[in-house]
Structures are given as structure tokens and as C-alpha cells.
């Protein structure tokens, strides 16, 4: 039973005045993640946009304990928090590892793979804005093909996005889910569920980035929704090996009214150099993945 908006906890764990860019999807997501996980959360984070959100010493707008760590070490840091808390008999804390796509898909993959294989008791969130946004929109392995970045400035990225979610599923986590900051209730429900599961929980969170993707700051929610409505992002969860579509993706599966990817791509400056042929190829890629996931969900 999805949580109703009116039933969201009133308590806020992020004070107004974070240092994220205008229109950033991250504080929307983080606000609801912390509402779901509560005050006994210890977050660990590498150098990333979330570090910026957390602010500069000696002030922070975040009302949970936070441990910053090196770029490639988020899951190791979380493993240390989990081990330290267990050694001290503090079993009522939630360890939340939260890193961007660079600190997860790329540099952080070793530590995350190791921690997931050990079935470390933590929630790992990769908030994916599809490039190294904190350092100024450089290509990552999460950047989709056809996107312009500051390290693919002339010829857009040629290779498709790394299918990291499948890599994580191959680690047999206790819980795996995808979500998007444009659907805070879907996100809230998934983190509420993850909180009460033991073992490694991995959540892939899509976060639209107006600065890096090139759309007006007022359209953050709309762009994230378009990502889901076009099937570029699919909302689902895997619990005990059982695959389930959720939220908007589930209703799309039922109604079969997926929008063309062009509706999503055309609103973002990063895709302005895509040719009609590349858009067609992108559409085919999205369709193929969608059909696979539909079949998996029993449609």
C-alpha cells in the first residue's frame, strides 16, 4: 500500500539553505530519503554533489550524522561504520552510503562490489545524474550515448550507459530498487521498505541535473517524469529475487502508453547534437530494455 502524501513524516532533516545548484533534483530526493530512514541514520558520502549539499565547515544544513570519505571508498566507509556500530552493540542505526554515478559506476565499483558480496548490512544509494557533475559535467560511464559533456564536447558520447543495475543484481542484494527524484512517494516507499530489510540494499536513484543536462531549473520534476514516461528510466524493485514494476512504470506497462524518447531528449541541450538516426537507435535501445523488463514482470 503506497504511502499517502498526508502520511509523510513532518520532521525535516534538511534545513533550508543547502548549497546545491538551483533546480537540483538531489535535495528533493535526499529530503524524502531521510524522512524514510529517520534520525538514527549515519550517512557516508564521497566527494560529490551531496558533499556540496552538506555545506562547509563549521555549518551544515543536514540533521543526521555524516561521515565524508574518499572518492572511491564509500562502500568501504559504510562497511567500517556497520562493523564499528556492531562491535559497539549499537544496532539501531541505519548506515546509508550515498554516492554519485562517478563514485559508484566508476571509481567506487570495487568497494561496492566487495561490500555487496560480503552482504554488508547497509543501504547504498547511487544518485545518478549521468556525469561528473560536481567537477563540471565530465563524461562518466553512466552518461548515455548521444550526450555532450565537457570531456565529449565536440562529438557526443558514443558508448551506451553502463548497465550498473544489472551488475548490482548479479551480487544478489537483499533488496534492489530503481527510483527517481521526480517521484518522491515512490522513493519514500522504497527507502521505507529498505530500512527494515537486513543485508545489502542497493537503490539506483535518477536525479535530473539542470546545469549538466541543459534544461530550465523549473523543469526538474518534468524532465524526471519524462525519463520514466518514455521508458528511459524504469521504476522497479527486486525483493528476494522477485521482480516488480512500481508506480508510473507499472501503470505504463498496463496502459502501454509509453511516450517516444524524443519527448525526453529534445528538452535537453546535452542531446542537441543527436541526429535522427541516433535518436532512432536510442529509441530501439529503450524499447528493447522495456520489453525485457515487461516480460520479466509477467506482462
Amino acid at each position: 500500500m503506497p504511502t499517502a502524501l498526508m502520511d509523510l513524516p513532518e520532521k525535516e532533516y534538511i534545513l533550508p539553505g543547502t548549497r546545491t545548484c538551483a533546480g537540483c533534483g538531489l535535495p528533493i530526493a535526499y529530503r524524502h530519503i531521510l524522512k524514510a530512514l529517520g534520525p538514527k541514520t549515519i550517512v557516508t558520502l564521497p566527494a560529490c554533489c551531496l558533499t556540496i549539499l552538506h555545506g562547509m565547515y563549521p555549518k551544515t544544513p543536514v540533521l543526521v550524522n555524516a561521515v565524508n570519505n574518499v572518492f572511491g571508498g564509500t562502500a568501504a566507509s559504510a562497511s567500517g561504520l556497520a562493523a564499528g556500530l556492531k562491535a559497539l552493540g549499537k544496532d539501531d542505526y541505519v548506515v546509508l552510503a550515498m554516492a554519485g554515478d562517478g563514485g559508484t559506476f566508476d571509481m567506487g565499483i570495487q568497494a561496492l562490489s566487495g561490500a555487496a558480496e560480503r552482504q554488508t548490512n547497509f543501504i547504498y544509494v547511487c544518485y545518478d545524474n549521468e556525469a561528473y557533475m560536481n567537477t563540471g559535467v565530465q563524461r562518466s560511464s553512466a552518461t548515455p550515448s548521444g550526450a555532450i559533456t565537457t570531456t565529449t564536447p565536440v562529438r557526443p558520447k558514443e558508448q551506451p550507459k553502463k548497465d550498473f543495475i544489472q551488475i548490482m543484481e548479479a551480487h544478489h542484494p537483499a533488496y534492489l530498487a530503481t527510483t527517481c527524484s521526480s517521484y518522491p512517494m515512490d522513493l519514500y516507499d522504497k527507502f521505507s521498505k529498505a530500512r527494515h530489510i537486513q543485508g545489502t540494499r542497493f537503490i539506483h536513484l535518477t536525479v535530473p541535473c539542470p546545469a549538466g543536462w541543459g534544461f530550465p531549473t523549473r523543469e526538474t520534476i518534468k524532465i524526471g517524469r519524462l525519463a520514466v514516461e518514455t521508458g528511459v528510466i524504469v521504476l522497479y524493485e527486486v525483493e528476494n529475487g522477485v521482480f516488480r514494476l512500481t508506480g508510473k512504470s507499472l501503470s505504463l506497462a498496463k496502459t502501454r502508453r509509453k511516450r517516444p524518447v524524443e519527448d525526453y531528449l529534445k528538452r535537453q541541450a546535452r542531446f542537441k547534437k543527436m541526429t535522427p538516426e541516433q535518436m532512432e537507435a536510442f529509441q530501439k535501445e529503450v524499447d528493447a530494455r522495456w520489453e525485457t523488463l515487461l516480460a520479466r514482470a509477467g506482462f
Partner: protein, 401 residues
């Protein structure tokens, strides 16, 4: 207290157990591998109550230790050579985060090309990470300095490397006096971090820091980056005295004093002094005896503490000697051995009492160093009559191509 015959690695694991470490991050690398193996047995048999995290890399091993320490657990790991180099980023992070981790380093040469055998290039290359570095002459010192290391680290909130020569100590059995658990407990109380993770008063540990001090919400000025760096340096400067004080207390409790940062042998009338670290100190003492039988007044100053660098003790120990042979198993490429540079720097300003210093690089990649080799070194160093006679570069003591 009971004597046991132990290898250096077994000794290090036993010391960690006596220190009641609470989180162990374990990753194997030759010649250190036996340390996590022995500890895993202790944990699985229930002899040690600790979380044993079988990490996937040394980079993660240190990451686990740092965060475990930040939540208040006594954390331990061990490494060597390229594993230590792989940790490099995390070593800076540990010192900067001011976590009191103690880590044995079984000194091994760094690739490329590969060697598994001993020199000190690995730990010397980590000299500037903000860690304290203690070196051991024998297995007894491994045990004692790990216990002492936690005491000092937790007092100053600075991590400690306890370095000992790979294979030469790590795989060599020696009698070790093992103190009772009660005695160690009395010397080393449980770790209590200076802050608690409190949901009512949340903190952001190791955040972004600006260059200059900024006011907090309390209106007080808090240090900027440089101020935070200065505090680490001040802690390391004060560490010279803290190590001496705790080393003296250790001596009162356990009968083996670690008050002085330099192990001195036959220094009073020495005309040539070997200055060295680690197990080379034992070999230099042998050479010293041989030389004295031949009428050459040799002595040994073996540094037990390399960081913080015991500058005053070095001056006091060495200012009477006319000649020094700084013999070391590492080199700072492009100049000379780092120990030689630091010894010379410590002696700067002694004017007419400044010894003539010759620097010898020996034993890289496990190259054997016999007492007779050290005797040859001493005889050569004695021929340098004036400062200008000693070569301005390091002398490679090796007879091969």
C-alpha cells in the same frame, strides 16, 4: 608474563588481541598475510570479540578502519609494500580525520620490478602522510610497540604504523615476553572517542573546509584548512614527549622501557657510529662488537621513532661522534636515503661539533647485509677525514652490476 616463541607476524596478531581491537580489516599481502590469518582464528574461536571484515583491497581496508574508528571502535589492519602504496590516499585521510588506528607494516620492497623481500621503501615513502612511524629491531619490540602505539595514538588522535622488516622479523621465530591481559588492560583502557554520534546533536565529519576560519552557528570562529593542518603538526610535535612519557610508564609496568626514541649501543667513545633503523640495528650491534675486537671504536644509534622525528635526541646522541655511517634500506630517488637527509638536517647548526656523515644504501629487495659488510662500511667511512671527503650522494653498498 610468559615467554613464547613467535614469528613477527604471530607477535603482531597477538598484540592486537591483547589490545582488544574491535574491528579488524583483513587483506592479505606477502609477507604480512599471517597477521590476518592468526587474527581470524582468534575471532572465530571466540578468543577475540571483534568484527572481522574481509575486505577486497587495502584501499578499502583503511576505509573500513577509518569509519569504524570514527564511530568509536578500536580498529586494526596490517599491510606491506604495494598494499601500503595502494592505501596512500586513505593514509592521508586517516591522519586528517585524526583516527587512532594502529597498523603493522611488514616492510617489503616496492614494485616495479616485483620483489616480495625486504626493504623499507614502502613505509619511508609514506613518511609525509601524518602518521607516526615506529620501527622494530626484534619481535619483542613489535608486541610492545603495538600496545604502546594504541596508547599514544588514542591520546593524540594520530594513527601509528609499527614497521618491521619482512621475513627478517615477520617470519623469524624469537622468544617474546607476552604480558598478561590484565596488565595490558590496565595500561590501555577502552577507546573513548572525543565525540559521540548523537542523533540529537548530529555532526558532519571531514566536510569541505575553507582556507580561512569561519564563524559557526555559535558565533565562534572555527579553523580553516591551514589551521586544521597546523593542529595535526602540533599533535605530532608533542608526540615526541608523549611517546617518551608513555614509553617510560610502559617500562614501569612491563619492565621494558621505551622512553628513549633511539636505541644506543657503545656510543660513549665511538669514533664511527652506525645510524640505522629496524632489524639492521641488531646487525649493526654485531658489527660493532667485531670492530671493537679489531680495535675500532664503533657504536650504534638505531632509531625506533622516525615520525615524529626525534630531532633533539638525535642531536644529543650523535653530536659527540666524529663520523656517522647512515645505513638504510630505502632511498629518496634523486638525492640520498631519507634517514640521511633527516640526520643531516637535525645536526645542522651544531657548527664545529658536526660529524662527518656518509650515507650507505643497503639491503634493497632482501639483499643480504652481513655484519662483515657493515664492518667494511665502517672502515670506508673512517677514511673520510673531512666533510668534503664524504661523497655528496648515497653510496650503494653492493658488489654486483
Amino acid at each position: 608474563m610468559a615467554a613464547q616463541i613467535l614469528t613477527g607476524n604471530q607477535t603482531a596478531a597477538l598484540a592486537a588481541k591483547l589490545c582488544r581491537v574491535q574491528v579488524v580489516a583483513a587483506y592479505p599481502i606477502t609477507p604480512q598475510s599471517k597477521i590476518p590469518e592468526v587474527l581470524s582464528e582468534y575471532v572465530e574461536r571466540g578468543e577475540l570479540q571483534a568484527e572481522f571484515v574481509r575486505v577486497e583491497s587495502e584501499h578499502s581496508a583503511m576505509g573500513v578502519c577509518i569509519s569504524a574508528s570514527l564511530v568509536g571502535a578500536r580498529a586494526f589492519t596490517a599491510t606491506a609494500a604495494n598494499g601500503l602504496a595502494y592505501m596512500h590516499e586513505q593514509l592521508h585521510w586517516a591522519a586528517g580525520a585524526r583516527v587512532p588506528i594502529v597498523m603493522p607494516v611488514t616492510n617489503r620492497g616496492l614494485g616495479a620490478p616485483w620483489t616480495i623481500l625486504n626493504d623499507m621503501q614502502d613505509s619511508i615513502a609514506q613518511r609525509d602522510t601524518g602518521w607516526m612511524q615506529l620501527y622494530c629491531q626484534n619481535n619483542q619490540e613489535i608486541l610492545d610497540q603495538i600496545i604502546l602505539g594504541y596508547k599514544v595514538a588514542e591520546r593524540l588522535l594520530v594513527p601509528v604504523m609499527v614497521c618491521f622488516d619482512g621475513f627478517r622479523l615477520s617470519h623469524t621465530m624469537m622468544p617474546v615476553d607476552v604480558p598478561d591481559q590484565e596488565a595490558v588492560d590496565a595500561f590501555l583502557p577502552p577507546f573513548t572517542p572525543p565525540y559521540q554520534l548523537d542523533p540529537e546533536r548530529p555532526i558532519n565529519i571531514n566536510p569541505v573546509v575553507m582556507t580561512d576560519p569561519l564563524p559557526g552557528s555559535d558565533g565562534r570562529l572555527h579553523p580553516g584548512y591551514m589551521g586544521i593542518r597546523r593542529r595535526l603538526q602540533e599533535a605530532l610535535e608533542s608526540a615526541v614527549d608523549v611517546i617518551a612519557e608513555e614509553g617510560r610508564i610502559f617500562g614501569e609496568r612491563f619492565g621494558r622501557s621505551y622512553e628513549h626514541p633511539i636505541i644506543e649501543y657503545q656510543l660513549d667513545d665511538a669514533e664511527i657510529v652506525f645510524v640505522t633503523m629496524g632489524s639492521l640495528g641488531s646487525e649493526a650491534s654485531e658489527a660493532c662488537d667485531l670492530l671493537r675486537e679489531q680495535g675500532i671504536r664503533a657504536g650504534v644509534a638505531s632509531l625506533r621513532v622516525f615520525r615524529p622525528f626525534p630531532k633533539q635526541a638525535v642531536r644529543d646522541s650523535l653530536c659527540r661522534a666524529p663520523r656517522l655511517a647512515v645505513v638504510e634500506k630505502a632511498i629518496s630517488y634523486g638525492l640520498e636515503g631519507a634517514l640521511a637527509t633527516e640526520i643531516k638536517a637535525a645536526l645542522y647548526g651544531l657548527n664545529d661539533r658536526q660529524p662527518i656523515v656518509a650515507n650507505y644504501i643497503v639491503g634493497l629487495g632482501g639483499k643480504d647485509v652481513k655484519p662483515s659488510d657493515l664492518c667494511d662500511i665502517a672502515r670506508q667511512a673512517l677514511t673520510f677525514g673531512r666533510h668534503e671527503d664524504a661523497p655528496s650522494h648515497a653510496i650503494w653498498f653492493s658488489n654486483e652490476i
